[in-house]
């Protein structure tokens, strides 16, 4: 039994609303799984179902080999970190940490010792006697984490724990949570709407939309081979460019429909579908000499952050390009763009599913 959490055929209804549809998910012991998707996709519902705060309407939910469908949260042996931290405002940090132990009847001295040990690893040692209202956002975050750690749970559940922190602290805490996970050898399920968090922290990313798992796998697999247009657009920042296209008469070239047609010869057999959507990541496009250009587009907006230059074309749809050097381009000029055909993604216009091209 290497799977710590197993979901099979899980469905959840709120009245007529179908919040989770046929969720199948296996989470290996010790892995860090991120549930990611736009708001309302069911990721939080799924997490709350794992915790036992929501009941599932159908399917099986197995934690550490035991079927947990109707088991109340307190008997599931899992810990959860809430978005608002949910620290008990009338208890000190120490009381917050030891609350779960005291309920289970652990002796006072023992609980105090456990709290001190955990506080030492999370840097809260000198804050144990403060109340939550006297702490900064980052410190509260740490208390919430410590409260979960102290229990040695079967799994950690995180519900968007970083969304209330400022950007710099978020990046820092990202690393901290991940290193904590590694140190504890824990199993973690992490809900976020931020695909960067999912990509950087998780071993296994689950992309959800409208209660359905669209794709799951290692982060880079999702980046390299998205199964449909939704996943392709959701993973990666800035988002992938989507260009409507036709297959050329020779079956080995594409016509990009960007205002005026752009012919791109790929020199490889293309699917027979006459209309496609081409996906190209902004970072896979590069500026080339006019003679080497695969497509030529008018420049719209040029933004530079110093390290990166973001170029948006004046076409419909807009094409975003990210380059790492500075570019003396101006709005209205023509730019010549090249790309490696291997970086091209093709999607069916109607089903939006990925179409694989041979070699």
């Amino acid at each position: 039994m290497t799977h710590q959490i197993e979901l099979s055929g899980v469905n959840k209804y709120y009245g007529a609303y179908h919040a989770l549809r046929d969720i199948d998910l296996k989470i290996r012991k010790g892995s860090f799984v991120a549930l990611v998707g736009p708001s309302g996709c069911g990721k939080s519902t799924l997490l709350r179902s794992l915790a036992g705060l929501e009941s599932i309407s159908a399917g099986d939910l197995i934690i550490a080999g035991e079927r947990m469908n109707g088991v109340p949260p307190r008997k599931r042996g899992i810990a959860m970190v809430f978005q608002s931290y949910a620290l008990y405002p009338h208890m000190t940090v120490e009381e917050n940490l030891t609350y779960s132990l005291r309920i289970r009847g652990v002796k006072k001295a023992e609980a105090k010792k456990a709290a001190e040990e955990v506080a030492a690893t999370t840097g809260l040692s000198n804050l144990l006697h403060r109340y939550p209202r006297e702490l900064s956002g980052g410190q509260r975050q740490r208390v919430a984490m410590s409260r979960a750690i102290i229990r040695h749970p079967k799994a950690f559940l995180f519900d968007e724990p970083l969304s209330n922190l400022d950007a710099a602290l978020r990046v820092h805490m990202r690393k901290e949570i991940r290193s904590l996970h590694d140190r504890l050898g824990a199993t973690s399920v992490y809900v976020t709407h931020d695909q960067i968090e999912a990509m950087t922290m998780a071993d296994h990313v689950v992309v959800m939309r409208q209660g359905v798992i669209e794709q799951q796998g290692p982060p880079l697999e999702l980046y390299d081979r998205p199964v449909n247009k939704f996943v392709a657009g959701f993973i990666g920042s800035p988002a992938m460019n989507f260009i409507p296209a036709k297959v050329g008469a020779d079956g080995r070239s594409l016509v990009f429909e960007l205002g005026n047609p752009q012919f791109v010869t790929l020199d490889r057999p293309l699917p027979t579908a006459s209309k496609l959507i081409v996906g190209l990541r902004p970072e896979h496009l590069r500026l080339v000499q006019e003679g080497d250009a695969q497509i030529r587009l008018p420049v719209g907006v040029v933004e530079s952050t110093g390290s990166m230059t973001y170029i948006t074309s004046a076409t419909t749809p807009e094409i975003n390009v990210v380059v790492t050097d500075r570019q003396p381009l101006r709005s209205g000029e023509m730019m010549s763009l090249g790309f490696d055909p291997a970086h091209l993604h093709l999607f069916d216009t109607d089903s939006e599913r990925r179409i694989d091209i041979a070699g």
Binding site: L53, R76, L87, Y99
Partner: protein
């Protein structure tokens, strides 16, 4: 310049209004200290030249005020205890669930609040007498007051419970507590202020309650001070100083409580009593 003048004008108006509202209270205190002739002097004196402190002792003894006050306390505490125990649970349920039935329940509760005591007393009296509850007049009054004041308490405390985030309870559930344990450990301590304030308001209402006590309690030895004060007055009464002394003894403790807790009461009512 105009800003300061406006503020001063507002302040002056506020002081005048407060004086008008508080004048009867002042007159009550002053009258208790006047002698029989000073009471009816024209023009009336606004400050007693010869304060008669003995009036208090006289009224306390002659009217058996200790018994009246005790009855008032018994009724007020009884009603508060009953309302707090029953109303807190009710308010919690109404705060945590959201559906059509809850809305109907809330509507009915608010409707109960609308009906005046003088209208309710007839059916209550008939019902109680059928059940034989008039044998225990103070208990009967406690139940009647509880029924009357419960909606007020439930509505106030419900708002308090709604200000306690659901996530705290969920955290307690995940931390290993049961629903009931989470209620007592987490929700109740956080809602304590709001419940306390509501209970004090209920206490003050119940302490001054008149209609039910007057109608239900016939035996003098069980009557509260409100009824006692009423029976003190008759068509030919002229011992106003004694009546005012009775009123003073009756009202001053509640006033004192209100003044002492005034800040907490106001903040409890406005902020949902958190933090």
């Amino acid at each position: 310049m105009s800003e300061t003048w406006r503020n001063r004008l507002m302040l002056a108006i506020a002081i005048v209004l407060a004086a008008i509202y508080l004048f009867p209270l002042y007159w009550m205190y002053i009258t208790t200290l006047k002698s029989g002739s000073a009471m009816f002097a024209t023009p009336p004196s606004f400050w007693p030249s010869d304060p008669q402190w003995s009036t208090y002792a006289y009224v306390w003894e002659s009217r058996n005020l200790a018994r009246y006050m005790w009855n008032s306390l018994v009724i007020a505490f009884g009603a508060v205890a009953l309302i707090t125990v029953l109303g807190t649970g009710c308010a919690y349920v109404l705060a945590r669930y959201r559906n059509g039935w809850i809305d109907i329940g809330l509507f009915l509760i608010l409707m109960l609040q609308v009906l005046p005591a003088s209208l309710m007393i007839t059916p209550i009296f008939v019902g109680f007498s059928q059940l034989g509850m008039l044998e225990y007049p103070r208990t009967a009054v406690i139940i009647a007051i509880a029924a009357k004041s419960m909606p007020f308490f439930v509505v106030l405390v419900r708002a308090t419970f709604m200000s306690v985030p659901m996530e705290l309870e969920e955290a307690a559930l995940v931390d290993g507590n049961s629903r009931i344990g989470a209620f007592f450990h987490i929700v109740l301590p956080l809602a304590r202020n709001g419940i306390l304030v509501s209970a004090i308001l209920i206490f003050m209402q119940a302490f001054g309650e008149f209609v039910y006590s007057k109608s239900i309690i016939q035996a003098v030895e069980y009557q509260p001070a409100s009824v006692g004060l009423n029976s003190f007055m008759g068509p030919n009464t002229n011992e106003w100083n004694n009546i005012m002394a009775f009123a003073t003894i009756y009202v001053t403790p509640i006033l004192a409580v209100f003044v002492l807790l005034q800040r907490r009461i106001v903040s409890g009512l406005t902020s949902g009593a958190l933090k």
